[in-house]
Symmetry: C2
Subunit: 199 residues, 2 copies
């Protein structure tokens, strides 16, 4: 799904192009349209890309860095997702259904992103069949990933979920601060620290 090597592509646009061409055949005209529709954004560590209550106007391609989705609940930050480089993200409820976001999106490493505004996306969708197909399928892929996470919560212990991450996404354990990872796993930092010692 995602390239395992980090930062093969120095240039963010090349990264995006490679991502799309791995899956779909793009004409030159399609790629030029896509390229022209995405803006490059570089942000420092801890920069917010979206705050609760705002409308999310952009679909992002994360070229380099690390992003977390979190919300405030019971006086604490609850980390819902973590997104790594070479993948797309947005706040779907806000972006697709035009509702105020109920989560914050924050870069927790300094990051390089490409973003496309909702109004430009409509044009790309209409003029590029490859993009249209891609947009359809990546939503299904994200749905599957979300269901997989849910399934792990339904039938695995916190320790098992941690071991799955350690096995399948060891980078997450290395790069994500323990408190965020614990929250993502649905446990306290103390519990994760204990689990980590046992393993």
């Amino acid at each position: 799904m995602r390239r395992t090597e980090r930062c093969i592509m120095r240039n963010a646009y090349n990264g995006l192009k490679a991502f799309l061409e791995e899956r779909y055949k793009l004409t030159n005209a399609e790629w030029e349209l896509i390229r022209a529709s995405f803006d490059k954004v570089e942000v420092a560590k801890n920069t917010f890309l979206l705050e609760e209550g705002q409308h999310c106007e952009y679909l992002y391609y994360l070229h380099e860095g690390l992003v977390r989705f979190f919300r405030w609940e019971d006086g604490e930050e609850k980390t819902q997702y973590l997104t790594f480089e070479d993948y797309f993200f947005t706040q779907q409820e806000s972006f697709f259904l035009r509702r105020p976001s109920n989560v914050n999106i924050q870069a927790i490493e300094s990051s390089v992103l490409l973003r496309i505004h909702e109004k430009d996306l409509t044009r790309v969708r209409q003029q590029s069949p490859a993009w249209s197909q891609f947009a359809f399928e990546i939503r299904a892929e994200v749905q599957v990933a979300t269901e997989t996470l849910l399934r792990d919560f339904q039938s695995r212990t916190a320790k098992e979920r941690y071991l799955i991450i350690l096995d399948q996404q060891p980078e997450m354990v290395r790069r994500v601060p323990l408190k965020y990872l614990a929250s993502f796993l649905g446990i306290t930092p103390e519990s994760l620290s204990r689990i980590r010692k046992e393993v």
Copy 2:
């Protein structure tokens, strides 16, 4: 979102039409196309609509009854979702990405459904803008619902999750056998029985 009264519509097609018209403006031609594309299926309690390993060829509208998604894991049935009447469902990974299903879908009450075959859906999508918009938005809606479930697992105890269901979908508690509900909540039937006594 979903009509609270059960079985307002005696006729499944009227139910589907009302569901769509609540949200979108349909021309007569659009509705006739949609109506002609959906087949009616009536199944007895415990009938399988899809089994693990099969390709899911249909998108379903559940007019009456109750359906569960489950998989075998560690020698046990794990219930992933429960779907009630007057809503759509399919196995997204299999239907949209054309992969073998990793879950079973079973009617756990005798049910009345309308279903559309994947090959017919393409035509409807192309010829009905209202359907096309609907299909786009309901996927986002399902994504939001899945994320909400996930969030509850990340930050709520089993008891809290049970109380949320009791509050927001009391029908689920009344109609779903305890063992399925426990599995859906990610706990054992014994634990749910204990929780239920405490409340």
